[in-house]
């Protein structure tokens, strides 16, 4: 199987061929490593992969092949190479969250999501670059340097799951895992021209996902097409006794509807799609606006009724997010103290020093800033005005969605980001960087599922369209996405 074959095959198709022993898992792994080598080479290295172990991956591949030879089947992702964001615990490869404080740390247990993917035959080929501890929107906050956008190597991939988005966009893997707290799968997916999904909060187990903001975090898949993303979602989703916040809601068979959509001229008839006015401000980039309008036209032609809706508390989302997320993070990151794992300061002469020096040397500036901010908003005298208030406003944001969805709207359509990928080093003001999450953050705060899919290019750079659905409404979300993807066809990448 040559490199371009590999880069163009969907995960579904690849798994079918490997399951049928038409192509071997070893071939797929080799092709993935070859592709990774070529995009990782030289000055323009995409710097998307932090840790990988070819021998380990080949051993996994050989094991899978033996299993297929014996039992005849290898799982729904048989032999499919996947890349995993470095904040998700895997056996055999480090999990460092792109931070010096976890340099060299290899987890002695694996995330539930990884276990489930492996059970279906997936092969982990590497851990991807990210913003340190998932704090960032560009993957520039990595201790290992920024990842580069495959469409323009002088530009960011977006973040924090930038490495995973680049891995899919550049053909290293057909599926990669990222994580979301404020848009960290959808935004890089939009910047890199791939599909990225944030499940309903509680849909996928957080066991093994290094916590940033516990009430917001979710693992999410990135893929080159909607079908592959939906498959990964089906496999990973479901209740986990190791995560008390995971939901017991049954997991839908999201892909069952795809066949009938493909043959249906009006697959979205009967559906009402809302377009929230707060996501189309006057100063929205005109190129992005045009592409969104084109997609809305496509949705109409697919039979959907499109109406204007309001999510009035949207402008409060960034302040609310940047109080809640850092607050929870300041507590979640207290365990990184040099005592039981990870970096431990050699210079420290006392326990006090051990903590302070380890943490100050181990955490980068954005992480430090957020821990300070988070500690401040939780501290005595400020808790009510900041954290508690923010949680109440969050409830108002959630109600906005409830009101719209409760009124018969099946899904929302919006742009994923206000801009296309900006230059590396182009944004230095922290608050300006936070604003790139403006269209994604409300879905995290409300816990509703949302995804980004390619809807076109502006000046050659990818633009993402976002679909948001009600809690546990992934089936409706995928329905809209699949139909739109088919309708746009190659235009989505032009």
């Amino acid at each position: 199987m040559n490199a371009s074959d590999f880069a163009s095959l969907s995960a579904v198709a690849l798994a079918a061929r490997i399951g049928a022993a038409d192509v071997t898992a070893t071939d797929a792994v080799d092709a993935s490593f070859e592709r990774a080598r070529s995009v990782g080479a030289g000055e323009d290295s995409l710097n998307l992969m932090l840790w990988s172990d070819r021998d380990l991956a080949l051993r996994d591949a050989a094991g899978l092949e033996a299993g297929i030879a014996k039992a005849g089947k290898g799982g729904r992702l048989a032999g499919v190479p996947i890349a995993v964001k470095d904040n998700i615990a895997t056996l055999g490869l480090p999990t460092t969250c792109a931070s010096k404080i976890l340099a060299g740390y290899v987890s002695p247990y694996e995330a539930t999501a990884i276990v489930r993917l492996r059970e279906q035959g997936a092969i982990v080929v590497g851990k991807t670059n990210m913003d340190e501890f998932a704090m960032g929107s560009s993957t520039e906050n990595s201790a290992y340097g920024p990842a580069r956008n495959p469409h323009d190597v002088r530009r960011v991939t977006g973040g924090s799951s930038g490495g995973s988005a680049a891995a899919v966009a550049s053909g290293v893997v057909p599926i990669a895992l990222g994580s979301e707290t404020g848009g960290s799968v959808r935004q890089p997916a939009a910047f890199c021209g791939v599909v990225g999904v944030k499940p309903t909060y509680g849909r996928i187990s957080r066991h093994g996902l290094v916590a940033f903001a516990s009430s917001l975090d979710q693992i999410g898949p990135l893929a080159r097409n909607v079908d592959d993303a939906a498959l990964a979602m089906e496999i990973m989703s479901g209740e986990d006794p190791f995560d008390s916040t995971s939901s017991s809601q049954p997991v839908g068979a999201y892909r069952d509807q795809f066949m009938s959509i493909a043959t249906n001229p009006a697959p979205l008839s009967g559906m009402k799609i809302g377009v929230p006015e707060e996501f189309f401000p006057e100063n929205l980039d005109p190129g992005i606006r045009t592409l969104c309008e084109r997609s809305v036209d496509a949705l109409k032609s697919l039979g959907a009724k499109v109406i204007d809706v309001k999510l009035p508390h949207t402008p409060l989302a960034i302040p609310v997010y940047y109080i809640i997320a850092p607050a929870e993070a300041s507590s979640n990151l207290a365990r990184f103290d040099g005592v039981r794992y990870g970096l431990r300061s050699e210079e420290a002469k006392s326990l006090r020093d051990l903590y302070a020096i380890t943490r100050s040397k181990g955490f980068g500036p954005e992480v430090t800033r957020r821990i300070l901010l988070g500690t401040y908003v939780l501290s005595a005298g400020y808790y009510d005005a900041y954290y508690r208030k923010a949680q109440m406003v969050r409830a108002l944001i959630t109600r906005d969605f409830g009101a719209v969805f409760g009124d018969g709207v099946d899904a929302l359509f919006t742009p994923t980001t206000p801009t296309t990928a900006f230059p590396i080093g182009g944004i230095t003001d922290p608050y300006e960087m936070y604003l790139s999450d403006i269209f994604t953050v409300t879905a995290n705060l409300a816990g509703v599922p949302a995804m980004s899919m390619p809807i076109g290019r502006v000046a050659g750079l990818p633009v993402g369209g976002q679909i948001i659905a009600p809690h546990f409404g992934e089936a409706a979300m995928f329905r809209v996405a699949y139909a739109l993807e088919a309708s746009l066809g190659p235009e989505a990448h032009q």
């Binding site: 290899v106 402008p315 940047y322 990870g342 800033r369 300070l372 501290s379 900041y386 406003v393």
Partner: protein, 104 residues
Amino acid sequence: MAVTHDDVRHVAELARLAVDEDRLDHLVAELNGILGHMDALGQVDTKEIELAAFAPSDSTPVRADSSGPLKMLAPLASFAPSVKDGFILVHRLASHEDSSDRAP
């Protein structure tokens, strides 16, 4: 609510982060900048949310007492920086006087 230098020093201490004095100005400015945007929240009427009864239906999932431990596929010594006779070691607390001295 303006953040002062002392606030940042205090919060850094709570978070066990050593902040260089020369970075302090910069951090104070940054934090004030960020928090300035948060002041809008103070204006939002959240009375309705306050009054809405807190009546969760689902209780936190529970685990049976004899469910058995989560296995580690590598031992503590494989990732802990300093282990001796099974204990994890750190520098002796400077403020310590007897075995009971601990934070609350």
